[in-house]
């Protein structure tokens, strides 16, 4: 009896640990989306594909140049920042004053395009990075509490996400540029009167948001399967996180990311449903949030 109870507690703790770890990654993926919306009221429907590109970038750096994903991470983040900038200049700048229909379709079409090109170039096959450095560290697993194991790559990903998140938060709240970013999100016209160039702030928002996705993708690449459709599920989760945390709120994305991560991992354990239905639960959370508190937990920045 005690042994079974003990195992039940272990399973629960295991799930909580996994939930928190993946939740931090979700938070980092989502914060970029939230940032961009706060600035321009545009939802980047290609956000998932940006993540997919980051993961593939890590993969190819590893396969072709022998770089461990941890090492290539700064490179991948920079690459994604560039992708974000180019997207903003080439696509978003054209549709910023367009009706919502055109805005939704422009980024949605871009996402579809990127996903299909990836499938064309790299086939729909699932890839995995073999033996990254992190999987060899400490034998690949860490025991946080007796009987509860988490993979080193997963912990590293969560730590990276937390660090990146903290860096972003400090940047936004403590630096001059970060405050300018907040100003533009708050009130474009007044910010312009104070000499802040909103065009440059939009660029910055896209670069930062995409770089965050880059970090998340590179971190995930150490242990997650990499394939062209991988962006789809993460994107949906990101939308839920942003809605839950509040469009435009950076701290909100953190809290919401953790909540969603926990709900996702815990729901099969606590509700006894099949793991393939866990996304149904996540989506139900979305509907519930949208019903009860549409502005999310924390509203703006």
């Amino acid at each position: 009896m005690r042994a079974r109870e003990g195992r039940a507690v272990e399973t629960l703790l295991q799930a909580v640990a996994s939930g928190v770890l993946i939740g931090l990654v979700y938070a980092l993926i989502s914060v970029g989306l939230s940032l961009i919306f706060g600035l321009m009221e545009i939802v980047n429907f290609a956000h998932g594909e940006f993540l997919m590109l980051a993961m593939f970038a890590s993969f190819w750096f590893h396969l072709l140049l022998g770089l461990d994903p941890l090492v290539s991470l700064p490179l991948v983040a920079t690459l994604l920042g560039l992708v974000g900038l180019v997207t903003n200049r080439l696509v978003i700048a054209q549709i910023i004053r367009a009706p919502m229909l055109a805005q939704i379709f422009a980024t949605f079409g871009l996402g579809l395009f990127l996903r299909s090109v990836a499938q064309f170039l790299w086939t729909p096959d699932f890839r995995l990075i073999q033996n990254p450095w992190l999987s060899r560290l400490f034998g690949g697993r860490v025991e946080i509490v007796r009987g509860v194991f988490v993979g080193v790559p997963q912990v590293a990903a969560a730590l990276l996400a937390a660090v990146a998140f903290a860096a972003l938060y400090l940047f936004i709240t403590r630096t001059k540029m970060g405050l300018a970013l907040q100003a533009v999100a708050e009130d474009k016209e007044t910010a312009a009167l104070m000499g802040i160039n909103s065009q440059r702030m939009f660029d910055l928002g896209w670069v930062l948001g995409s770089a965050c996705v880059g970090v998340a993708g590179a971190a995930l690449a150490s242990f997650y399967y990499i394939y062209p459709e991988v962006g789809g599920t993460f994107a949906l989760i990101a939308y839920v996180v942003v809605a839950l945390g509040g469009f435009g709120s950076v701290p909100g994305a953190l809290v919401a990311g953790l909540v969603v991560g926990l709900v996702e991992i815990l729901s099969p354990v606590m509700l006894g449903i099949a793991p393939s239905l866990k996304y149904a639960v996540v989506f139900s959370v979305y509907l519930l949030v949208v019903l009860i508190r549409p502005q999310g937990l924390m509203g703006r920045f």
């Binding site: 549709i95 367009a98 229909l101 055109a102 949605f108 579809l112 499938q119 086939t123 949906l236």
Partner: protein, 327 residues
């Protein structure tokens, strides 16, 4: 000036209808007939999408789910309750309408982004559910057995909505649906619901201030869209005598439906039909030549097209036509 424009349109519609009615007797190749049926089908789906997406401006990226609801409902009722697919079609349409209300009611109060995301999510979840649900065929799908005549050959029967010897009725049913939707769209365009839809699309707060119950009209558009999409789903199931999650629920289908409408011109009566006549033959051609290698070339083109149209010519082909005529 508006009056002659309207009767001009009616004349074109009649001429087109006549041409299409006569067409299969002139060109009797089964390949062409199949292509035409597909064109009518997608035109209908795009027209149904156009009501909620083009007119009311609420972007649904999950309309395929209503297509599946229609097809699966009529097929399951046929299999388990021996109900004629005609009855099943009505049942499917009603189920689709209820689903539209259930989804729309909470989500429509908020921004268009929320709605678009919700439709994507529902579509994905429905696909996962249906592919794993053995009772409705799972990933293998459902097959509708032939109705056979006294000598054992697959027969033609109106009661059971199958035409195996002479497939012509499918053609005319699809054509009839397409023109019904065109008529409905034209009626909406000229009357109060259409005006209210367009007002909502342009500025929903201004619409509110003029007494428009925005939620009610968004739901109306969505429900109409769902019902007709479901009817087309039943037609599709009875045409192929087969239905599965991949062909009815994939995001690809929802995207294609929207793209046909966007290419042709959202918010117009003829746009979706025009878009279908252009895009579907192209799609079939490219599939024949570039092959269905699973490399998703068609999606690459669709994605690029969507971006280009959104950025450069959001009014689609109809808009291009207007520009060329110097309006």
């Amino acid at each position: 000036m508006k009056k002659t424009h309207c009767s001009g349109q009616t004349l074109i519609a009649l001429a087109l209808a006549l041409a299409l009615v006569v067409f299969p007797f002139i060109v009797s190749s089964p390949v062409t007939r199949n292509l035409m049926i597909l064109i009518f089908l997608y035109a209908g789906l795009a027209q149904a999408w156009n009501i909620v997406g083009g007119f009311a401006g609420q972007v649904s990226l999950g309309n395929a789910i209503f297509f599946a609801v229609g097809g699966y409902t009529s097929t399951l009722l046929l299999q388990h309750a021996a109900l004629s697919p005609w009855v099943g079609a009505i049942a499917g349409a009603m189920l689709a309408m209820i689903l539209a209300l259930v989804v729309g009611w909470p989500v429509f109060r908020l921004g268009g982004h929320y709605f678009a995301i919700a439709t994507i999510a529902i579509g994905e979840i429905a696909l996962a559910l249906m592919a794993n649900w053995e009772a409705v065929g799972g990933a293998r799908g459902l097959t509708i057995p032939f109705v056979r005549d006294s000598s054992g050959r697959p027969a033609d029967t109106w009661v059971w909505f199958q035409f195996n010897q002479n497939k012509l009725p499918y053609y005319f049913i699809a054509l009839a649906l397409m023109f019904t939707l065109a008529g409905l769209t034209a009626w909406l365009d000229r009357n109060k619901p259409g005006f209210y839809f367009r007002a909502i699309k342009n500025d929903q707060d201004a619409a509110r201030s003029l007494g428009v119950n925005v939620l009610r009209y968004k739901l109306l558009a969505f429900v109409l869209s769902a019902a007709f999409t479901a009817l087309l789903g039943t037609l599709y199931a009875q045409y192929l005598l087969f239905i599965d999650p991949e062909s009815t629920l994939a995001l690809r289908l929802s995207v294609l439906i929207a793209l046909v409408a966007i290419l042709g011109g959202v918010g117009t009566v003829w746009g979706p039909i025009l878009g279908s006549f252009v895009l579907i033959p192209l799609g079939e051609l490219s599939r024949a030549h570039l092959g269905g290698s699973g490399r998703a070339v068609d999606l690459i083109i669709y994605g690029a097209l969507i971006v280009l149209i959104s950025v450069f010519q959001p009014a689609g082909l109809m808009g291009l036509g207007r520009r060329l005529r110097g309006k």
